[in-house]
């Protein structure tokens, strides 16, 4: 009712003053009337707007908390580089062990068998080196366990974040490098070693080649 009264006042005033010159004081008075009439409207708008902005602020606070809980900096600067180092160490260890084992095999295969006693001594010595080299499996197993633990840690944190944020995946690639790698992988069928049940065995490969051999 108050809003209508104010508007009616504006209309009446304009009707009264339309034919006359409008003074500055008239304009100021008109502005005051207008502002008064809109005050209620703005008060309503402020409340609605304030509520929505407050909801957004709360959401942003929650998101910041979840991002903090992700501990992305710790993952990036500590855990992931550490896992990478473990994997690098695994590659080195397996390579070293493999080379040692092959050296032993080569030494045995090249050995002179004419002296059986000397040959036995050599073989025994080389086989001991082989057993020692095989201890790499214990160390690499422990390193792999550490990497798996890191992956599980990352998985838990990402899963929590995704659930809290109700995150949805965007399609596409982060950058050109990622796109190029994906395209290369797809173009040249670079799948890598298959998991159990995924690839085919040599017998099935041979069947695929059988018709060509006729």
């Amino acid at each position: 009712m108050a809003d209508t009264q104010h508007l009616n006042r504006i209309v009446s005033y304009l009707k009264e003053t339309r034919a006359q010159n409008v003074a500055l004081s008239d304009v100021v008075a008109l502005a005051e009337v207008t502002a008064e009439s809109l005050q209620t409207f703005f008060e309503t708008l402020d409340t609605t707007l304030y509520r929505e902005l407050r909801d957004i602020a709360v959401y942003i606070d929650e998101m910041k908390a979840e991002i903090g809980a992700l501990q992305a900096n710790e993952l990036k600067e500590s855990r992931i580089p550490a896992a990478g180092q473990e994997l690098g160490a695994i590659v080195k260890a397996t390579e070293a062990a493999t080379n040692t084992i092959m050296e032993c095999a080569e030494a045995v295969m090249a050995a002179d068998v004419r002296d059986p006693a000397a040959y036995k001594t050599l073989v025994d010595g080389q086989m001991m080196r082989v057993f020692e080299a095989c201890s790499f499996q214990d160390i690499t197993g422990q390193r792999i366990a550490k990497v798996v633990e890191t992956l599980q840690h990352i998985e838990q944190r990402v899963a929590r974040f995704v659930e809290a944020m109700r995150a949805k995946d965007l399609s596409g690639f982060v950058d050109d490098h990622e796109r190029n790698r994906a395209e290369r992988k797809n173009k040249f069928m670079l799948n890598g070693p298959a998991s159990d049940g995924e690839g085919i065995g040599q017998a099935q490969v041979d069947q695929l080649f059988a018709p060509a051999r006729r």
């Binding site: 390579e95 493999t98 080379n99 092959m102 095999a105 080569e106 295969m109 040249f188 069928m189 670079l190 799948n191 890598g192 070693p193 298959a194 995924e198 690839g199 085919i200 065995g201 040599q202 099935q204 490969v205 695929l208 080649f209 060509a212 051999r213």
Partner: protein, 127 residues
Amino acid sequence: MAIDLSMPILVVDDYNTMIRIIRNLLRQLGFEDVDDASDGSAALAKMRGKRYGLVISDWNMEPMTGYELLKEVRGDPGLNRTPFIMVTAESKTENVIAAKKAGVNNYIVKPFNAQTLKTKIEAVFSE
């Protein structure tokens, strides 16, 4: 057809360990002249400088894959008759079919044993 044990063989793999394994297996089969390359482009360069009787190549290498190497070899009039065996961990049917279409002579899935390598080499030279 009797296999010429003196023929040069080129082994292509980005893992030195695998090259060493294959070299030893080939030595056991009587092949002594064995060269190696770490990827398809290095292999291609070697093949254009020396005639090889057989190429044994991995698939997943950079910058050039064994699959690209195979297609380059089959597309080169001077090299396209070179016997080519793929030895790889790529064991999906699509890989095998693609290699066969590209003209590979035989395909060995890793891990493999000496008998398999021997059988496949013999099969290639009996064709």
